[in-house]
């Protein structure tokens, strides 16, 4: 298989994740997101975890690369909680 254009899901498929099913490390407040005009999260998340579904922001913390870009860019405080995943959980880079 040669290198080609990959979609976000495919890219995340190359990484190793230990998803913390009990405790999401990022939580968004959709009522704030609904009022946010710019929605920078739709374009700046390298994992494309913020998507628009029927006009509403949809977010999945499972493929998070833990970069912090959304935390820095969310000007309306729609991100109600942003922490790193609990110890051992989240992405584990094998190359880095």
């Amino acid at each position: 298989m040669t290198v080609k254009k990959h979609g976000a899901e495919e890219l995340l498929g190359f990484d190793k994740f230990a998803v913390d099913e009990e405790e999401p490390h990022i939580v968004i407040d959709k009522t704030i997101c609904a009022k946010c005009k710019d929605k920078p999260c739709l374009v700046i998340c390298p994992a494309v975890l913020y998507t628009l579904k029927d006009g509403e922001i949809n977010f999945d913390y499972a493929g998070c690369l833990e970069c912090g870009t959304c935390r820095v860019m969310c000007s309306q405080k729609g991100i109600a909680k942003w922490t790193y995943p609990r110890g051992t959980f989240g992405v584990a880079f094998r190359y880095g």
Binding site: T2, L65, C67, T69, V72, T88, F93, G96
Partner: protein, 427 residues
Amino acid sequence: MSEEEKFDVIIVGAGPAGSASAYLLAKAGKSILMIERGVSPGSKNVTGGRLYTYALELVEPGLHSQAPLERKVVREQVMLLGETSGVTIDYVDYTFKASLPQSYTVLRAPFDEWFAGKAEEQGAMVAAGIRVDDLLIREGKVVGVKAGDDEMVADIVIAADGINSFMAQKAGLCSELTPHMVGVGVKEIIELPAETIQQRFNLGPDEGTARVILGCTEGIQGGGFLYTNKDSISLGIVYSPESAAKQSKSIQEIYQDFKLHPAIYPLIEGGTTVEYGAHLVPESGLKGVPKKLYRDGFVVVGDAAGFCINTGTILRGIDLAIVSGVAAARAIISARSGAEVGPNYVRELEKLNLTPTLKLFAGWPEITAIPRMAKAYPQLANDALKFMFTVDGNVPEKMPKAMRKIAKKHVSIGQLVADGWKGVTSI
């Protein structure tokens, strides 16, 4: 871990800054606990990346020769991409090979794990898989850290917890990161046979290439990078999320299109992507460094302190992290009281050239932030060379006239003068 057990130093984060500190402090006989949230040191870290090895030599002479490094950089390249073309400046210097170690390409997961292991060999305790949640502060002094229900105490806490430094924030040394302070980097590791890499990049078996690329971000402030590892290529871009937010295309898609650029794709063709990573980069140089790097019982090092230099041709972070880790260790070792640690640290950063170097490059982020650097100038260079190399049987235009025309297509005289002035005054 019981509350009674007290360490001389607790280090939050087992990246290069933390491990450099842990190594030297443990070697000096201090009791050290280094806490890492990843399942192993390095598993949360991403670099471009390369390492300037002088920094490791500060920790211990000869240490770099044991490190799991990839290839010694002998080719330094700057590439300007046009829409379907590319101009590459390729500087090769074989004395890099013969002389003192200069720089190597590196992958952080194996490197960080090795480095933390070296600190462990010196006697440091490394606790991986633990997320530090908070600082313990008593009577204005940082006395330890909290992780879940556990409290761990120490005379000094070193925050080596990277760019999203919650520790430095909790200590009150820095406020929340703002969009213009950071770049976001995305990167793929693309596996290719060592021989293919050597052929494509004109390298000997252990030699490597480091390339910075301008004009690949669809006008978004930022640039690309390419590093040859032993049997993989690190290819990525770093861009301003603030500038990217104005685009409707996701930065992940922009990166995918960059991969397929006709001047890039042949370099990675036939390869296999094995990892996709992303990370924030401190981008504002000295301006992004907290005014105060310490408080009673606490110092901040590495990315957490915003130590990063980007001149457009040289990107430095890991070496500065290690240097700051060395500075923190030296400060703690030489301090006669806790109160001396912070001021000692600042002095060591001066002595080890970190602060003076950051000061020297303080204006450079202004240059990399010139909007035309990401598109107009790379395209202009490509058009100029296209003119120079085109032979089609017609009488070509006179050079000065043609160049003026090409320049005008991409940039106004006013912009050119303004950018030139900014360039001169910033450096």
